[in-house]
Amino acid sequence: MAIKKFAVACYDDEAVLFPAVAKVRHSGYKLHDIYTPFAVHGLDNAMGHKESDLHIAGFIFGLCGTSTAVGFISWILTGDWPINFGGKPHFALPAWIPITFELTVLFAAVGMTMTFCYLNQIMPGVKKHVFHPRQSDDYFVMAVELNEHVNENDVVNFLKETGAKETSVQIAEDSWWYGRFDKTEPYQLLGQ
């Protein structure tokens, strides 16, 4: 949640990107993040990210769904308001399997998607800084955080050496905020 300065390098080939990532990590520069137009397999490993735990959230939500369904239905049909339907017993578990299953899936899917949005901090109205408009098209964009310890030009030159097609230095908000993509933000004017 802060406005920072970044050196930005754009690559157009995964084959160039991967060595560059390794070099940047090796160099000790603070690798802010890499923006890619599609899921580049192995990039998370290369950047040293752990596996995602999203599926665990899904499992827990699913369990909640199962227990909600079974608990609620059995309470209703055996405890709260037992009724004779066609001579079937009140505790008719086999008949509840479909709804139990559906609720399990529903809870898991909805819960996990919401967790996904929360973790990725995305939702309608959220705005994040776009380092390069082609980062969702064909560029793999690497942002290196600049601070008082590093020289801006050194970093840019270093990045150029790694094979970047384009480089630049940008002042940007490093996190998300509520905003509109058709509006230019004040900090961007600041950087001009």
Partner: protein, 477 residues
């Protein structure tokens, strides 16, 4: 660096000399351009159909279900037939995106977006029928489980119809989530390419502020994988539960355990046919032949011939059982299907669903676009008749001959059905105009393994002697 390699035996999934940028250009540019004249014609025709549907439904709600042709014996007619038909169609999208994802079928990437959209629109259409077939549609919310003061306190969780409510709403929700989570990165692409402020604003909102960081993509893949894992049993469960509407009843012709697999196979069958119908048109109009290739169509035709054969086997099994069970009511139900006043519907079903798909055993026909298109429509007609046969011809002559009756639809019923076509195509036209009809990010993902130009580069490797190749690889690591 890892080697992107796919056997040369497999035909390319992306034709032409494509780069990442070219893919974006090909798929996104229709969104940025004014639509063609055909689009306007199609869109307003769909809108007109939709308006007629709205009129028909309004007529029915105002006067009562009595304006329909259904009656004391045949309580469900076109309404539930169309419901099951649309729901069946709605199965292909999720099947393609979920099951084929789990099976690592990369050809799905060319068609999954449109197929999922079709799923969602088809489920929307399907949902109209159980809603408006209710006598008191304004009281439809009684199915929700909340305490109230209208007789019994809660809904009946033992009713297959309530299972339907849960199944369909869950299916719709999960399909929507699946579809939309895939759309987010593509919306970000449209947003970043956008030249106009409005487009930037709207796609900015639609893209949820997606920037595509490595971690985001990691979670995105995980989400897709788990949703696929959830959707796979879900997609099977939905038509299973729809089949329970019939299978858990006591009516001869309905009361049968074969229904769940039979319905699911039928759903996939009709769903793929509908995808074919749409894609054959879409690829032509939006010039996406490079992404939706003949290979894609053939792959889907193979699924059609498989599921068609399953469905055919199921029909024959039913017939066998009606004889083998030695139950006179069961035998009667099938006798009246085959040679009763509704014989034509049974034979239409048999011809369209069992006989015609067998033609797809011929590779030439599988790869013929025009034939594929015609077959896709024949299959959907056949599958409509299947539902009609199951619903109407089981009811019209059941146990007690004194109550036997006949049913033919009236104009508001037909209008309702046409109206759902209007809804479906209106949605689809809007989708084709405003949404990336092919999952751009996923196509890019497979470009270097399955793109024609990249595969050509691999020919050099293919020509190398094996020993040399192995040696080269060993040196790399």
């Amino acid at each position: 660096m890892h080697l992107k390699y796919e056997s040369f035996v497999r035909e390319p999934l992306v034709d032409g000399d494509k780069s990442y940028r070219q893919i974006s250009e090909d798929i996104i540019s229709p969104i940025e351009k004014k639509p063609g004249r055909m689009w306007y014609v199609g869109f307003f025709f769909s809108l007109a159909l939709l308006a007629f549907g709205v009129f028909s439904v309004t007529w029915e709600v105002y006067w009562g279900i009595g304006v329909w042709g259904i009656n004391r014996t045949v309580g469900w007619g076109w309404d539930i037939t169309n419901f099951v038909w649309w729901i069946g169609i709605g199965h292909a999208g999720t099947l393609i995106s979920a099951i084929l994802l789990l099976f690592r079928q990369s050809w799905r990437t060319g068609v999954n977006r449109a197929a999922e959209a079709m799923t969602i629109f088809a489920v929307m259409c399907a949902g109209q029928f159980p809603i408006f077939h209710m006598g008191r549609v304004w009281d439809g919310f009684f199915v929700l489980p909340y305490p109230n003061s209208r007789g019994p306190l809660w809904p009946n969780f033992n009713s297959a119809l309530l299972w339907d409510v849960f199944a369909i709403s869950t299916y719709f929700t999960v399909s929507l989530l699946f579809w939309y989570s895939g759309l987010i990165p593509d919306f970000a692409l449209v947003r970043d390419r956008a030249k106009t402020k409005l487009r930037k604003l709207l796609y900015g909102i639609g893209s949820f502020g997606w920037t595509g960081t490595a971690k985001n993509w990691q979670r995105h893949e995980m989400l897709a994988l788990v949703l696929a894992g959830l959707s796979t049993p879900l997609v099977l469960s939905v038509h299973t539960i729809v089949s329970f509407d019939f299978a858990t009843s006591v009516i001869p012709g309905w009361h049968t355990t074969i229904f769940p697999p039979y319905f699911v196979a039928g759903a996939v069958f009709s769903g793929f046919a509908m995808v074919q119908t749409l894609l054959v048109i879409t690829r032509k109009i939006l010039h996406l032949e490079d992404y939706i290739t003949i290979g894609h169509l053939e792959a889907m035709n193979k699924v059609i011939v498989l599921t068609g054969s399953i469905v055919g086997t199921a029909y024959l099994t039913e017939l066998f059982m009606s004889w083998y069970s030695a139950n006179q009511y069961e035998a009667g139900a099938f006798k009246w299907r085959i040679m009763g006043p509704y014989w034509w519907s049974y034979w239409a079903m048999m011809t369209c669903n069992v006989v015609s798909p067998q033609l797809f055993w011929f590779k030439k026909l599988r790869r013929n676009v025009v034939f594929t298109f015609i077959m896709s429509i024949v299959v959907n007609i056949g599958m409509w008749f299947e539902r009609f046969v199951i619903i109407v011809t089981s009811l019209y002559r059941d146990y007690i001959p004194g109550s036997w009756s006949y049913y033919s639809p009236t104009w508001p019923e037909v209008g309702f059905y046409l109206g759902t076509f209007g809804l479906f195509f209106t949605c689809y036209f809007l989708f084709a105009k405003y949404f990336p009809v092919i999952a751009v990010a996923e196509i890019k993902f497979i470009l270097k393994t399955s793109g024609e130009n990249y595969k050509r580069k691999m020919d050099v490797i293919e020509e190398k002697p094996v020993e040399e190749f192995v040696l080269e690889q060993a040196e790399h690591h």
